[in-house]
């Protein structure tokens, strides 16, 4: 059954030999040095201040949905930074490798990256940005915000939530390992078939790509189950479906997509795995395989995945824009309907990723029309946001700037998307960088919304605001970079540049390539301001402390509890009376009413099980990649054993008494709330009656 491989194999180390470590490549040595220094810079202070135990007990073992969400977002931001470095390398290679006269450095004939290395870089750029940057950031936001918005104490399954996080993290760790041990896939983030088959990609690169995605997508599927069960089962009293905040609606629809789409990706990659490990012929050219089977299965996941990412972004815009327009969201019901319309259509458009594959005119027509239909609910959303801003009292805080720019990007990306939905145009620009520019506008809209969300909800989670001055510079340079890179890229697409080129044959493309490189420089400046924003804000955090509602005009339930949110979320579960509960309470003068008494509450305990399962899954993945069977087997058996062991030790959790609650609430008020001079003192509910 097992495929016989060329090259050395030993029972102890599998395919792993010293030669697998690319220590002769200066770029990788530099990357290793950079990662090592960054790692030391993070670990050293933790050890110096003797916080290792704290980090382990209170974060790594945490089942608190907010901490898990924060770790998701940190993972996403770190991976986004690595993905950005990949993007920078791609752009620099193209600008240095344009035309036959372009010089070659290192081992490359043109530019500084040999073809195989360049291919690995764009493959990891795509995989990282979609699956390990955007997905964790949005999952993390859903984790933090959704239970707060519906007034829940935690997720439905807190331990499973932590398991999801660690599975996703271990997927990312596998990709990081591929940088220094062995190589990464050079078949694109979509896994171009049959290039990913063993005869064409005999190294471990494709295996890294495959197992990283498999492990992390199990995490994403479990998280989807968790969020859906939370929204359905854990809403506070009075939180009817027609009072559910929009972000919760979009996260719900997104996770319905995730729950139904990720298993299909699992199948697509499992069959590829069978081909690579067992020697079957699902996707091979000969022996009865079918190449298009992979492409179809992959995109049946791949297109819903796009909406999996964009819907929470729409939800974020729908929260940020009303807050900073000081108006309720225009067209709540149409917004919900549009969200589910997009989610529904997402299942019937996948073939537009390969119109040119000869499915025939009727099939292409169906998918073309279905794709254009997406424009209708999306248009509804855009108009709803514009009408929300219309005659509103707009304040251009940083989250609002990101949101307005996101709408502009959505317009550019959406209209070019409708162009691409037309097969006649698609045949012309297929595989050109026009397509790349289009989907980068869409993905960057998600990134813009994600930054809006991070800045908007940061004070809720940490209790102090991020620095607005540095944040605005970060926004402007990031936007400048986006425009410069991708407007030039649209033009290059029309000039005929195809995607994934390590060498560009046409010297006439040079001016646009140089402009793109300038855009990358703007992105680098934006990166600097991002770190400056974090640094300045953390340095001046005592000065920037804020109360429960730091923006003063927020509308939903999460802004009713302290900032930072205590681990139990709400001391007493709020009773929901209206859509936009906080705005309703403010309008009726109830905003300052605090609960009259406290009752004991029940909380889950932190546990080591999730991180152990995560480490086992890494061992399983690493073992499978290098075909170290004992390691993979131990990892898999370890996961099963942990689940069984846990089922024998019931987690009773612990109870906080009413006295504990009173003490904790008093502490949180002292710590968090800045006295608001023009508001009356908080009233206890009993005294008001």
């Amino acid at each position: 059954m097992l495929v016989h491989l060329q090259g050395p194999w030993s029972p102890l180390f599998g395919r792993l030999t010293l030669a697998s470590i690319p220590y002769a490549n200066p770029i990788i040595i530099f990357a290793f040095a950079f990662s090592a220094i960054a790692g030391i810079a993070i670990v050293a202070p933790v050890l110096y201040y003797r916080k290792a135990g704290y980090i382990f007990r209170e974060w790594i073992c945490s089942v608190d949905h907010k901490k898990i969400g924060v770790m998701y977002i940190i993972l996403g931001l770190v991976m986004m930074f690595r993905g950005f470095v990949d993007g920078m390398m791609i752009r620099t290679q193209q600008v240095t490798a344009d035309g036959p006269a372009s010089p070659g450095f290192l081992e490359a004939q043109h530019g500084y990256l040999p073809p195989s290395h360049f291919d690995q870089i764009y493959s990891s750029h795509g995989t990282l940005m979609i699956l390990f940057a955007a997905t964790p950031i949005l999952t993390g936001l859903g984790n933090i915000i959704v239970p707060l918005q519906i007034g829940a104490r935690d997720m439905a399954f807190p331990t499973m939530n932590a398991i999801s996080l660690w599975l996703t993290t271990m997927g990312a760790m596998l990709i990081m390992a591929s940088l220094f041990i062995g190589d990464f896939s050079d078949a694109g983030w979509v896994g171009l078939i049959p290039l990913t088959e063993l005869p064409y990609s005999p190294s471990v690169g494709v295996d890294y790509w495959m197992w990283a995605i498999q492990i992390s997508s199990v995490g994403t599927t479990l998280n989807a189950i968790n969020i859906i069960a939370t929204v359905i089962g854990m809403r506070a009293p009075g939180m009817r479906w027609d009072r559910l905040p929009i972000f919760t609606w979009t996260t719900l629809s997104t996770n319905i997509i995730g729950l139904t789409a990720f298993p299909v990706l699992g199948v697509a990659l499992a069959l590829l795995g069978a081909d690579r490990y067992l020697g079957t012929h699902f996707y091979t050219g000969g022996m009865g395989g079918n190449l298009m089977l992979y492409t179809d299965l992959f995109w049946i996941w791949g297109h819903p995945e796009v909406y999996f990412l964009v819907l929470p972004a729409f939800g974020i815009l729908s929260e940020v824009i009303p807050t900073f327009s000081e108006k309720p969201l225009f067209g709540y019901i149409t917004m919900v309907a549009a969200t589910f319309a997009i989610a529904g259509i997402s299942w019937s458009v996948w073939l537009h990723h390969f119109f040119t594959m000869g499915a025939g005119p009727w099939v292409n027509t169906f998918f073309s029309v279905a794709t254009m239909l997406v424009g209708i609910p999306t248009g509804v959303k855009v108009f709803n946001w514009i009408f929300t801003m219309y005659r509103g009292r707009i304040t251009y805080t940083t989250p609002m700037l990101w949101s307005v720019a996101a709408i502009l990007l959505l317009l550019i990306g959406g209209i070019t998307g409708v162009m691409l939905a037309n097969p006649a145009i698609n045949y012309t620009v297929h595989n050109s960088v026009f397509v790349i520019a289009h989907f980068h506008c869409m993905v960057l809209l998600i990134v813009f919304a994600a930054f809006a969300a991070v800045i908007y909800w940061f004070p809720k989670v940490f209790g102090f605001k991020l620095d607005e001055a540095a944040g605005k510079r970060f926004f402007w340079f990031f936007s400048l970079g986006t425009c410069t890179v991708f407007i030039a890229m649209f033009a290059l697409g029309f000039e005929g540049e195809t995607r994934r080129l390590d060498y560009l044959y046409d010297p006439d493309w040079m001016p646009m390539l140089v402009i793109e490189e300038f855009g990358i420089a703007f992105y680098c400046i934006a990166c600097f301001y991002f770190f400056k924003m974090l640094f300045v804000s953390i340095r001046d955090r005592e000065h920037n402390r804020c109360g429960a509602d730091p923006w003063g005009t927020a509308r939903t339930l999460e802004w009713m509890t302290h900032s930072p949110v205590p681990f139990y979320n709400f001391a007493v579960t709020p009773h929901v009376n209206a859509l936009d509960e906080l705005a309703w309470r403010r309008a009726h003068g109830y905003a300052d009413v605090v609960p009259g008494r406290y009752e004991p509450i029940h909380m889950p305990k932190n546990t080591m099980v999730p991180i152990i399962i995560g480490v086992m899954s890494f061992a399983f993945g690493f073992g499978m990649v290098w075909r170290i069977w004992w390691m993979a087997g131990l990892g898999l058996l370890g996961i099963i054993a942990m689940v069984i062991l846990r089922s024998f030790t019931p987690d009773a959790g612990y109870t906080l008494s009413a006295d504990d609650m009173r003490r904790l609430e008093a502490e949180a008020s002292r710590h968090g709330i800045v006295p608001d001079t023009h508001a009356p003192l908080p009233l206890a509910e009993e005294r008001l009656v």
Binding site: V267, F282, H575, R585, I640
Partner: protein, 210 residues
């Protein structure tokens, strides 16, 4: 949209005192239904792949579907699966009266039938391997084996679940955790049986009459 109710000057209910009572069993069961939805999608992908690869050209000159599938042999497996489900369902009937011995007997019988199923399936595979119909022979055979074996894997998983459940029932009786697990396992067991019915119809019956 929703201006909120009118309370005529009285204070509206702003806080819900006391622990909000969530129904633990129903939340976990909902979670399990959602898991089964994702599992159903895995089988949907596998059935679709089988449909795509179930043509004579995908047999690549090797054994075609009609030579591989034996509806009579699979009939035995079908009886075993359905008997196992029946036994497990009888166990859940005994659960209603809190009859510990009846529950455990039902689960043991379900286990035995599941084992019989796996033995029959293994024997079927042995016969096929002997005639050279191995998974690496052709795209068709790969799809056949992966579909049937994924179902078999679900059987093994369910058997492991029963083996874990038996000592828990023995030790701690019918507490919330145990009952939740039993009810979810009933869902899972009927789910895999439904999948087997689809396998039997779409793979064994449909292809044997071609």
């Amino acid at each position: 949209m929703d201006a909120g109710p009118n309370f005529d000057g009285k204070l509206p209910p702003l806080w819900h005192y006391g622990e909000t009572e969530y129904d633990l069993i129903s939340t976990k069961t909902l979670g399990f239904w959602l898991y089964m939805l994702s599992d159903a999608l895995i089988f949907a992908g596998l059935f679709a792949s089988y449909g795509v690869l179930d043509h004579n050209m995908n047999a690549a000159g090797g054994p075609v579907a009609a030579q591989v599938v034996h509806p009579v042999a699979a009939f035995g497996q079908t009886v075993a699966v359905l008997s196992s489900v029946l036994a497990y369902s009888l166990a859940t009937v005994a659960l209603k009266t809190g009859n510990k011995a009846g529950v455990m007997l039902g689960i043991v019988v379900a286990l035995v039938f599941a084992a019989i199923f796996l033995v029959l399936e293994f024997a079927d595979f042995q016969t096929l391997f002997a005639m050279g119909a191995t998974p690496e022979r052709s795209g068709y055979l790969a799809a056949f084996y992966i579909l049937v074996a994924t179902h078999g894997l679900h059987m093994m998983f369910g058997m492991l679940w029963m083996l874990v459940l038996l000592p828990q029932i023995w030790r701690s009786g019918f507490n919330t955790d145990v009952v939740t697990r039993m009810l979810n396992l009933r869902l899972f067991w009927q789910f895999q049986a439904s999948v087997w019915v689809c396998v039997y119809v779409f793979v064994y019956l449909r292809d044997s009459i071609q």
